[in-house]
Symmetry: C2
Subunit: 145 residues, 2 copies
Amino acid sequence: MTKRVKITPSVAEQTLIRLMRVGDRLWRESDERFNQWGLTDNHYNVLRILNGISEPISQAEIGRKMLSSRANVTKLVDVLEQRKFVKRLSCGDRRVNLVELTEDGAKFIEETLSAVVGAANEQMTPLTRDEQKTLFALLGKLLGE
Amino acid sequence: MTKRVKITPSVAEQTLIRLMRVGDRLWRESDERFNQWGLTDNHYNVLRILNGISEPISQAEIGRKMLSSRANVTKLVDVLEQRKFVKRLSCGDRRVNLVELTEDGAKFIEETLSAVVGAANEQMTPLTRDEQKTLFALLGKLLGE
DNA sequence: GGGCAATTGTTTCTTGGTTGACAATCTGGC
DNA sequence: GCCAGATTGTCAACCAAGAAACAATTGCCC
């Protein structure tokens, strides 16, 4: 048997691993959920961002909000535009495309959101409301917010 | 302006989003860290799993432990074997490859682990030890453990 | 005004990873 | 014994995302 490093993980490390596992699981589940509509979670993310703001925003801005590369936003918006959920608008600055939610896109969000929110609530049921709040606060600290 | 669904996210949903964001960030940082040794975090994950057990295990087992497909485990073990960190053994069941940590692999873990653990501890510094513990417990509940 | 740096969107290439098919092997019921 | 069904590792095809290069455009500083 080969020699082994004895590993006695610190609380910090154990917590970190758990965080990664939970995050991983949530991403997988979310991806799975959106596949049902032929989208990835990132596609849906774009729609939600657009739904949440009052003015059309540039692709670069979208990328910044969702921590995704500009290159990828191009592709995401491509398929959303093809689905007629989203429209590219030209504006003063000829470099940028402003992206706007269409009627269809808004309707899609409206129809699907309750299912999405329901699933989210379901995933959190193991925790009481108070526990959810403390969890929320702790994660906020971790994110430096 | 197109009609919008009014969104007032529940605590559950806000927490869930934060969980996903934290998880995402940790995965990115961890990936970045391991690139420095020409590995992905999943490669390292395999090594840690092998380091943590006393008996060689099958590839399928590894895949189950780390929530990865068998196909992917094949590729991960391929590069680890090429790096001489790991060895494939045949066993009674001629379908399975048992995978074993080599001396080199054990040494690699030994040399790198402190850096990895250090980084993990650093990432958790925004939280006190007690907070880390409650976080750990809450995540455990969420995972159903 | 003229030029240089910065920004934007796109394209191309690469990379991890999953899925599905496959052959080889094992197991359990008869 | 033997055959149907499950498991295992691998391979090919595909997919989402990132990185780098690029052209078009803008803004700033002199």
